[in-house]
């Protein structure tokens, strides 16, 4: 499929998602408001922890707030652009309608990954920028343009890692029927990304750095934004991101082959 057709398909899918959201106007408003409320609620534990302390594991209140800002942005991107489509794949496999995706003359991973968006998550994304702005305001400075660019790049890597992990989970649904339960485990684990990874000790620190790389998802982009991330860590993060994407691609193609040679 040519790149221009990818863009056209993406446009069409986005348009359908927005149209879908508009079909239910009350839902649209309610979801938007609920999302914003959750963003507000997620700040409470952080606020409580920092009421009597200056810093936790070397992170001051505005710095930890910046991590929460990245967490909010990442979750908005995940829930707005990644998980709605990929949850639908499990349903497709269960109902056998994945056949229609596979009959289309386009890359199946691209088609399923762009099938559905939740437009109101844009509000959460906006809120995340407000939190990040607030954090820098409290630090009394602005991020350097180069740090900002590095943070954006790392944010993108974080999204790629998250997306790839989702693809891996979804690929499991070709082998086991109820893989959607795994998505609950997945979002519970992700919830830990609201804290800087240095907060965790021992096995958890290892788990969240190397196995389920939460450090890469929110801590590193926040550190990059503050200009405290070294180049080696940033480079490693990029490498990890692309490795995840490559592994996810291979597993998806294998899972698909399993589907097309086994199902009826």
């Amino acid at each position: 499929m040519r790149p221009t057709r990818h863009v056209r398909v993406l446009q069409a899918q986005l348009r359908a998602s927005v149209a879908n959201a508009m079909q239910y106007r009350a839902d649209f408003l309610l979801q938007g408001l609920l999302g914003l409320m959750w963003v507000g609620v997620s700040l409470i534990p952080l606020n409580v922890l920092y009421r009597d302390r200056q810093s936790i594991a070397g992170w001051t209140w505005p710095q930890a707030l910046l991590v929460t800002g990245w967490f909010t942005a990442l979750r908005a991107a995940l829930e707005g652009a990644v998980s709605p489509s990929l949850t639908a794949v499990v349903e497709h496999v269960r109902r056998g309608t994945l056949d229609f995706v596979l009959l289309k003359p386009a890359d199946s991973q691209f088609l399923v990954s762009t099938a559905r968006f939740e437009p109101w998550k844009v509000l959460d994304l906006g809120a995340s920028f407000v939190i990040m702005g607030w954090a820098f305001h409290q630090m009394g400075r602005a991020p350097a343009p180069l740090d900002l660019a590095a943070a954006a790049l790392l944010g993108l890597v974080a999204l790629i890692v998250l997306y790839s992990m989702w693809i891996l989970v979804i690929s499991l649904s070709f082998f086991i029927v109820r893989a959607d339960n795994l998505s609950f485990l997945f979002s519970s684990l992700l919830d830990a990304a609201r804290w800087p990874v240095q907060v965790f000790r021992g096995a958890l620190r290892f788990l969240f750095t190397f196995i389920f790389p939460l450090a890469l998802m929110t801590t590193y982009p926040a550190m990059a934004m503050m200009g405290t991330l070294d180049a080696t860590t940033a480079g490693t993060a990029l490498l990890v991101g692309f490795s995840f994407a490559a592994v996810a691609r291979v597993v998806w193609l294998r899972a698909l082959r399993n589907y097309t040679s086994a199902s009826s």
């Binding site: 056209r8 398909v9 069409a12 899918q13 056949d99 596979l102 009959l103 009826s264």
Partner: protein, 329 residues
């Protein structure tokens, strides 16, 4: 156009006896059975043909259609559709075929069908002018103009099938695989869909392979049928010849002006029913002319029609015969 040689598809199915102990045992040690969904199937279909693909439930029809459309890999044998090997799923191949499944839908549930059409336009890369022209043609043929703007979930089953057909044909495929396209539809909607399939075939010269449990679909659309049972080919040829082979009888439905003499009726053929002034008699096809002459000459006939046996009965005989033959072997 379509060439199928020695096609086989075997599934490995996990077998587990009843009970908790068996369930626990199956966690460690599993027994698999091989199910031969399709065995040594061979046929050819020429450009522009309309072929009915028949068989009882579980005969392997859908498996074959899925292999032909590239969704399943054959276990053995070769397949060619319009010069392509389906399981490679080349873009050019996927642009030439379509699969309509009466029991599954591709329409976006909460949105009007036009949104699905727009999405398919982007996926298939159909130029705007061509898309508009095809969409108008298809909606006119199906009289579906008023439907495409309503959310799919508000459409009736028949209306939805019309829109499914449009979505499946917007890219003007050369080969149509139709798996039970009329399932669940009322009689008039079935007739509409049938008429549409025939018109599309005649207008574009596309090849049609159709499965259906409604024999009216097959009788109205398909001069040729391929019949399979338990994955094996039972018959490939003209529908009319199949009927003659399996049921070499015609049915005479007669209405009399006055009560007929039963012995005269029995002389003509096998009396299926006789109630008052109405009778049904089964007569060998070659004897119809003599039987009619005899009836008209000896009895007071008010009305007489000669009918082929219903296709459903033909199929039942065919499959029963096949089972019996297998049992005897």
């Amino acid at each position: 156009m379509i060439e199928v040689r020695d096609l086989c598809k075997t599934y490995r199915v996990h077998q587990r006896p009843e009970g908790l102990a068996a369930a626990l045992r199956s966690l460690v040690h599993r027994r698999y059975d091989e199910v031969h969904a399709v065995s040594d199937l061979c046929f050819r279909i020429a450009d522009g043909e309309r072929v009915g693909f028949l068989g009882p439930n579980g005969a392997g029809k859908t498996t074959t259609l899925k292999m032909l459309s590239g969704l399943l890999h054959p276990t053995r044998g070769t397949l060619a559709v319009d010069g392509f090997t389906p399981q490679r799923r080349d873009e050019a191949f996927l642009k030439r075929v379509t699969l309509v499944m009466g029991q599954k839908q591709q329409l976006l549930w909460d949105l009007p069908p036009v949104e699905t059409f727009a999405l398919n336009r982007a996926v298939y890369g159909i130029p705007r002018a061509e898309f508009d022209r095809t969409l108008t043609e298809l909606t006119d043929l199906l009289q579906a103009g008023g439907l495409v703007g309503k959310p799919a979930r508000q459409l009736s089953l028949g209306e939805r099938m019309k829109c499914e057909l449009i979505a499946a044909l917007l890219h003007q495929p050369r080969v149509l695989f139709l798996d039970e396209p009329t399932i669940g539809l009322d009689v008039s909607m079935q007739a509409t869909v049938r008429g549409f399939i025939r018109a599309y075939n005649e207008r574009t010269g596309a090849t049609v392979l159709l499965t259906s449990h409604y024999m009216e679909d097959v009788a109205a659309l398909c001069p040729r049928v391929i019949v399979i049972d338990k994955g094996r080919l039972l018959y490939d040829g003209e529908l009319r010849a199949l009927v003659q082979r399996v049921r070499p009888f015609k049915r005479l439905s007669i209405r009399f002006a006055e009560p007929p003499a039963p012995e005269v009726l029995a002389r003509v053929g096998e009396v299926l029913s006789l109630e008052g002034l109405a009778a049904q008699v089964r007569v060998r096809g070659t004897d119809v002319k003599d039987a009619v002459r005899d009836l008209l000459g000896t009895l007071a006939v008010a009305d007489l029609t000669v009918e082929d046996p219903p296709l459903d009965e033909v199929m039942r005989d065919l499959f029963d015969g096949n089972t019996a033959a297998r049992g005897a072997a």
